[in-house]
């Protein structure tokens, strides 16, 4: 029998605007986590990724993106995607999230077809701790009603 994948852990559709979405009590029983976000913001902003409530300078990454400004590549800390007031679709894959012997890599694909932005990112969370919570927070305004966030486990 095939090994099940994309096993659903939690899902949320916002019924009121919020600046933060947090998945917590994540079981350590999978290999990777997938977070699928389909959302808009009240204003142009940046979405910040936090693991285990860690607000320290433990996040780094590289990105490449295409936008109305052209194609760019660079490094980043703390934010993983731009938020636009039109619809954003972002998919995160946290590799080996429950491992206690390595830093955590997250691969991110961020999309906004309406505004015209596409990006791919690879980030490192400099901690050997197993990830038990994932928080997505905006640094300005709020995430709009109707936005959806779903967490899956992959074996």
């Amino acid at each position: 029998m095939p090994t099940p994948t994309y096993l659903s852990l939690a899902t949320l559709t916002l019924t009121s605007a919020s600046a933060t979405v947090t998945f917590s009590s994540i079981p350590a029983t999978f290999r990777d986590l997938i977070v699928v976000c389909n959302f808009s913001g009240s204003t142009a902003a940046q979405m910040i990724l936090r693991f285990n409530g860690d607000t320290g300078a433990n996040y780094s990454g590289v990105f490449m993106s295409g936008s109305p400004s052209g194609a760019v590549s660079g490094t980043l800390t703390n934010f993983f995607t731009n938020i636009r007031t039109s619809q954003n679709a972002t998919i995160l894959q946290v590799m080996d999230y429950s491992a206690t012997n390595k830093h955590k890599t997250t691969l991110i694909r961020a999309n906004n077809g309406d505004f015209g932005e596409v990006a791919a990112q690879a980030t490192r969370y400099a901690s050997n701790s197993a990830i038990t919570s994932v928080a997505l927070l905006t640094n300005a305004g709020t995430i709009s009603i109707g936005s959806t966030f779903s967490l899956y486990g992959v074996n």
Binding site: P4, T5, Y6, L7, S8, L9, A10, T11, L12, V21, T22, F23, S24, S25, I26, P27, V36, N38, M64, S65, G66, S67, G70, A71, S86, Q87, N88, A89, I91, R109, A110, N111, N112, G113, D114, F115, G116, E117, V118, A119, A120, G146, T148, F149, S150, L151, Y152, G153
Partner: protein, 169 residues
């Protein structure tokens, strides 16, 4: 993730691969494709619900020698006939909330294969303006060509829910 359907092109080739009568019972859709065109073009078109609606996109494309950002709807999903024999393009399309009542975002990641400098890698952010549920997905070969034998596409459905342990707020 649940497998819905796989289409494998036979010896006669096919101008299009189409998934139709897609049930609205999942949350997201994933399409995984392996495509080669019978003519010398790598491009293809993706169409939801046969036709209609407006597509707005942003494509980031690397060709082996250059990078570009554009709003072109040209999708480099397939290996053209001029590229190395027996190679096929590989593409994954993710469509969240495909059955919802809002416009539909989609994300594509695609590569072509060639034993030469020229090979395309692209990522695309797309938005289909229609608010209808997606009930069909068509992958059309461009340039008057056909998808060659052994080209394939598979459709999967993903369902969001809860494991009763993980919390979200």
């Amino acid at each position: 993730m649940q497998h819905i359907e796989t289409v494998v092109v036979g010896s006669g080739g096919a101008a299009s691969i189409t998934f139709s009568a897609i049930p609205a019972t999942f949350t997201d859709l994933v399409v995984v494709m392996s495509l080669r065109n019978s003519v010398d073009t790598a491009t293809s078109t993706l169409a939801f619900n046969v036709s209609g609606g407006t597509y707005t996109t942003r494509r980031l494309l690397g060709s082996g020698s250059a990078v570009s950002s554009s709003t072109s709807r040209t999708d480099y999903f397939a290996v053209p006939s001029s590229m190395t024999a027996s190679t096929f393009g590989n593409t994954l399309i993710y469509i969240p909330n495909y059955a919802g009542s809002a416009a539909k975002s989609y994300s594509t990641d695609s590569v072509t294969e060639n034993n030469a400098t020229l090979a395309q890698q692209s990522i695309i952010a797309g938005l289909w303006s229609e608010t209808d549920a997606i009930t069909s997905i068509a992958l059309n070969a461009a340039g008057g060509g056909n998808w060659v034998e052994h080209s394939s596409a598979s459709l999967y459905g993903i369902t969001a829910g809860s494991d009763g342990i993980t919390a979200v707020s």
